[in-house]
């Protein structure tokens, strides 16, 4: 329903939260880094002068300089272009995989928390089983089965992240289940779908969103790690992990390649972690009293 008077709360709360994030030095720093990474990934084509996969055999192992800002690798590809495009891949994986995990985790968590007891027990069993599988083993199994690919990376992330999101949502849903406004919705004849969507979800999603924002660096690290091991993106697609790997093979002669692969991973991870932690401090319900 569109309306004349916009509800006050969400807008004010959003602005106020942003204000408080900016007031924290850590939050400000995190936000700046995150914005930097996002902008450079989005405008990679405009910012980089070269195509990231174009090989220039004459320029192999070129030193950083004006023609190639970060130099070139063993195949003569422009590293600056590869780093920016690698950022694109990293963010894309993080975004898609986290969104899927969030959606899946929310649905499963709501069902586990609100549905019948046996279903809850079953889901918890499955979550625990998946979680108890070490990430590396999971990755290796999947890659053995389906071959290395970006999809494999995402599947690993989804499998690892979903159970923890689902658990958080489940616990909160259970706490809400007996509250009077849920009873009131039932008494009005609302079905389970509507109750979960309209009455439960908005009240439980906050903490998971914060959790997810703190998981983004982990996902980026997983992607880089798997690509480093050759289990992620396939060459010649640029990825920070792959660059890092190239760098390590030639670390004595051309150390900047390893730096070019490693530094973005560190900065991005740092940025998202700082931002995520500040967000958590700002929103954590235990530290704040709602009016």
């Amino acid at each position: 329903m569109s309306s004349v008077a916009e509800p006050a709360r969400p807008r004010h709360a959003g602005l106020a939260a942003l204000g408080r994030v900016l007031a924290e030095p850590m939050g400000l720093f995190g936000l700046a880094l995150v914005v930097l990474v996002i902008v450079s990934a989005v405008f990679a084509d405009q910012l980089a002068a070269y195509n990231p996969t174009r090989m220039m055999p004459r320029d192999r192992f070129a030193d950083p300089g004006w023609t190639h800002l970060m130099g070139t690798d063993h195949l003569g590809r422009d590293l600056f272009a590869r780093v920016l495009h690698g950022g694109r891949i990293a963010l894309w994986v993080a975004l898609v995989a986290t969104s899927i995990s969030l959606a899946l985790g929310a649905v499963l968590g709501l069902i586990a928390g609100y549905g019948p007891r046996w279903l809850d027990n079953l889901l918890i069993l499955i979550f625990d089983a998946v979680k108890s599988f070490p990430t590396v083993m999971l990755a290796l199994t999947l890659v053995t089965l389906f071959g290395p690919s970006l999809t494999a990376v995402m599947v690993v992330v989804v499998l690892v992240a979903t159970p923890s999101y689902a658990r958080v949502i489940r616990t909160q849903t259970m706490a809400l289940k007996t509250s009077e406004f849920i009873l009131a919705a039932r008494a009005m004849g609302a079905g389970m779908g509507r109750i979960l969507r309209v009455h439960v979800l908005p009240n439980v999603i906050g903490p998971v969103l914060i959790l997810a924002s703190m998981d983004i660096p982990v996902v980026i690290a997983i992607e880089a790690g798997m690509s480093f091991l050759g289990l992620g993106v396939r060459p010649p697609t640029p990825s920070w992990g792959a660059i890092l790997n190239d760098g390590f093979t030639n670390i004595r002669e051309t150390p900047w390649i390893a730096v070019a692969g490693g530094l973005p991973v560190i900065l991005t991870t740092l940025g998202f972690t700082f931002l995520g932690e500040t967000l958590r401090d700002v929103f954590d319900p235990r530290l704040r009293r709602e009016g």
């Binding site: 329903m1 309306s3 509800p7 006050a8 406004f181 009131a184 009005m188 004849g189 509507r194 009016g291």
Partner: protein, 352 residues
């Protein structure tokens, strides 16, 4: 005339304690509602009063299908509704609305008043109506300005939240409203407004009301009939006027005598009850009120009294006679004790 709602011998139980408690021979469950029967006619207002924790809310929830009943039957508009699933209950829930005990807690915290009031229409697929107009209409009905549509529950005072609850309950023109403490937290003027509003609807639309309240002044003003609940049972049922004029169950008498009067100098002649409220885990033998009854006699501890039947039902071996006790502020203002033939023990009187 068939009753709008008829409740027959309804019991509601809750499991208690863990597995260990049950293995150790604990009862395993409590009977929050222990066999209750009554009827509400069309256009009638029936009040439920009683001890806190005596099962009033549980009974109301059982009626509206939020609580499974262990045994007994419920009929609404002639059809049995006991144990129906949410889908089968959906049409029933358009005809029967509930107002909850906690005014703020029963409103979804992330929804605006506008969304809260539109919710019943959305649930029942009535989105072809002009919802914005419906919201304004409902707000006007409960005496709130239209600007309130943009507020969120935490920005309302307790009384304002209560009015939103009333507005939501009457949104779909139900025939029965089950109101759990509809006026708790309202000042006397707004309380009058809400009750007059419910009363108007009752007259105009033939609405029936089941009101649960602790405010005996309210009961006396609005209810046609009433029931007094104690430990999950109706201990007295009858016409409101008759019960107030001369309560026949000792608990009803104590309750009515305890009613605080708005006069700092009023003489307070109260029937004081011992503080120990019995537990549902260990219901007293015989008459369940005998542990606190000022008029208790030997038979009471061993033998459960019959409820009797007819318009006035009293769950007591020795119902009080009109002369036994008169509530302050009613006919004589004097507490008298003494049963038939003076055989009763004297009730202890509360300090004035």
């Amino acid at each position: 005339m068939t009753a709008l709602l008829s409740v027959e011998d309804v019991r509601v139980t809750f499991p208690v304690g863990g597995l260990f408690a049950r293995l150790a021979g604990g009862p395993g469950e409590i009977e929050a509602v222990a066999g209750v029967s009554f009827e509400i006619g069309r256009g009638e207002c029936f009040a439920l009063v009683g001890e806190s924790g005596s099962g009033k809310t549980t009974l109301a929830r059982a009626i509206i299908g939020l609580q499974e009943v262990a045994s007994g039957t419920l009929h609404f508009e002639g059809a049995e509704i006991t144990g129906l699933g949410p889908a089968a209950l959906k049409p029933v829930r358009r005809r029967m609305a509930m107002m909850f005990q906690d005014p703020v807690g029963s409103l979804s915290p992330r929804l605006s008043v506008r969304a809260l009031l539109a919710e019943p229409f959305r649930i029942h697929g009535l989105t072809d109506r002009d919802l914005e107009a419906e919201v304004r209409r409902l707000l006007a009905l409960v005496g709130l300005p239209p600007e309130f549509a943009g507020r969120y529950p935490h920005q309302l005072s307790g009384g304002q939240a209560r009015r939103i609850g009333v507005a939501r309950a009457i949104a779909l023109d139900p025939v029965l409203i089950v109101a759990d403490e509809p006026t708790a937290g309202l000042d006397v003027s707004v309380q009058g407004d809400v009750l007059n509003l419910l009363n108007d609807l009752r007259e105009r639309l033939g609405l029936s009301l089941l009101i649960i309240t602790h405010n005996l002044h309210v009961v006396r003003q609005v209810a046609d009939r009433m029931a007094v609940m104690y430990l999950g049972r109706f201990v007295e049922t009858g016409e409101t006027e008759a019960i107030f004029a001369a309560p026949r169950h000792p608990y009803s008498a104590a309750l009515i005598s305890a009613n605080p009067e708005p006069d700092p100098d009023a003489a307070r002649n109260r029937i004081a009850l011992p503080a120990e409220v019995p537990s549902l885990l260990a219901r007293p033998s015989g008459c369940e009120f005998h542990t606190r009854c000022p008029w208790v006699r030997e038979r009471c501890a061993s033998e459960a009294p019959p409820l009797g039947d007819g318009a006035r039902r009293v769950l007591c071996h020795y119902p009080l006679e009109p002369g036994d006790f008169a509530a302050p502020g009613m006919s004589s203002g004097i507490v008298e004790a003494g049963g038939p033939g003076g055989a009763r023990s004297s009730p202890s009187e509360g300090a004035g």
